[in-house]
Homo-oligomer: 332 residues x 2
Amino acid sequence: MNTRQILLASRPKGTLTTNDFRFENTELPEIQTGKVLLKGLYYSVDPYMRGRMNDSKSYIPSFQIGQPIEGSVIATVLKSKSDNFKIGDKVLGMLPWSKEIISSEKSLQKIDSSKAPLSYYLGILGMTGLTAYFGMIHICKPKATETVVVSGAAGAVGIVAGQIAKLKGCRVIGITGSDEKIILLKEKYGFDNAINYRTTTDLKKAIVELCPNGVDIYFDNVGGEISDAVISNINFHARIALCGQISLYNSSDTPIGPRLQPLLLMKSVLMQGFIVSNYQSLFPEGIKQLGQWIKEGKLKFTETIVHGFDQLPTALIGLFKGDNTGKMIVEV
Amino acid sequence: MNTRQILLASRPKGTLTTNDFRFENTELPEIQTGKVLLKGLYYSVDPYMRGRMNDSKSYIPSFQIGQPIEGSVIATVLKSKSDNFKIGDKVLGMLPWSKEIISSEKSLQKIDSSKAPLSYYLGILGMTGLTAYFGMIHICKPKATETVVVSGAAGAVGIVAGQIAKLKGCRVIGITGSDEKIILLKEKYGFDNAINYRTTTDLKKAIVELCPNGVDIYFDNVGGEISDAVISNINFHARIALCGQISLYNSSDTPIGPRLQPLLLMKSVLMQGFIVSNYQSLFPEGIKQLGQWIKEGKLKFTETIVHGFDQLPTALIGLFKGDNTGKMIVEV
């Protein structure tokens, strides 16, 4: 059958543009034993995907030029030559940006659409929710009354990280890029306060004002000068979870900034980079706890849903401009 | 009685010089109840003392201009108005640079000169040995066959940190500042290899060559460009213990360098700043294990002993030029 795919056209230099992508129609072969034919329903766009567009060694292989972009996709089974999947089953996998997809049964995980809306499995009960959970609980270890700063606070991970810290009794300050998002963080997600980094001229001073007792925990999604401002106000024995560095993903050169080690040494600070798959063996714990908090109404979340397969490149690019609130998903 | 003291003359700007110190003769009063009169025997000079000369908030208060420098001192009791100390007792304390010293009994810890030479309590069984022990064992958690890099390798802490990693079955590479120290590290302390950073033009390449499997653990005493070179070759799930940043202590401005967070994130690296007092409750464990290794001949160490009270400023300044091998002590 004929399908439509989105390929990496070229390795982006600096800021990602639609020219880095190419649409292509292609013919899929008949499926073999152990394989299924899928139709994509929800496609996840995530900041880490920018890194896979570079030709550099990382924890996950680079995308290849002329090959489809790949990401988390929720799909429905159209045809099956697998004993594990039947037509109509809903599945989650790391799959190519293709309207129809042939996949090995081994790459797929069945999901239960009766327990939660399908899209949740790309966000709050999926990679972004679990990232927030493990970063906050296992690295930051929040204690009641501590001050927590979350950058990229209105993003899919930030919203959840901040709420978990609130559930642990912390004072939580978000950093975000619009006044609308500040209102959302405070009114919907219960953040104690938030800073608009685009309109704040002295970020360091703003953080000192909102964190009069210093910063005990910094959950960092963005890096760069925002992080410099937060870390300059860090406390003794603070914990910094490095979850994302979205402000730097589009830069081609090695970014330069103040050396952190003297301060981290002087204050006995922990800084830990992580990816959610480090905690794979603990995913059931995380999903159970997140599901419980949702059920109890203690954990709220937002999805930004964009419609149409052809919108995928624009949606991904939009992440770097702050177009999303919460998890950004493309529905087909 | 009359004694001689060394005071902070001015806050050093950049590199420490003898002009930053002032000698002064002063009269000590009679001792009161609960106090002892001491005669200093061994005075410790340590890199962290440079930080106390600045007027900045840290884990330990700044020295005051016109007041004596203070550090770890081993002394003998000359007069006592304390029930806990008698004449001739040997004690360790954080004490002023003064030939004779009046101290409160509460600030002193009695040491047993029959168990180990007195000077050991300033080094291998004191702050530097324990710093190496807790940094390596509790932060770096070395596993057999891992590759460990130690900067400032021939310093008091580096020598011990490297040997502990060897005892745990690791491959250990030192970074140091002279070819003599390289020979010492390899022949006396069992390092697998070492790099002379002063004569190596491409440090990054040298590290790649000596660490073909990458760097799993980096025990950092120096910071700056040496650390940049090591960290550029860091492995997934590596651990970096920030023990010292001696290359930066003399700089007045905020040092600038490559931003580390993107790499720490991509490789899920742990970076932990620490000071030995974080582990105070575990000191008995550390002293017991270090003493055991010394007794078994598994842990070797060096002291650089300088003679004469008036040499204290020069000895401290010498630490920043690499004049010492192992623990630097001034004997009076």
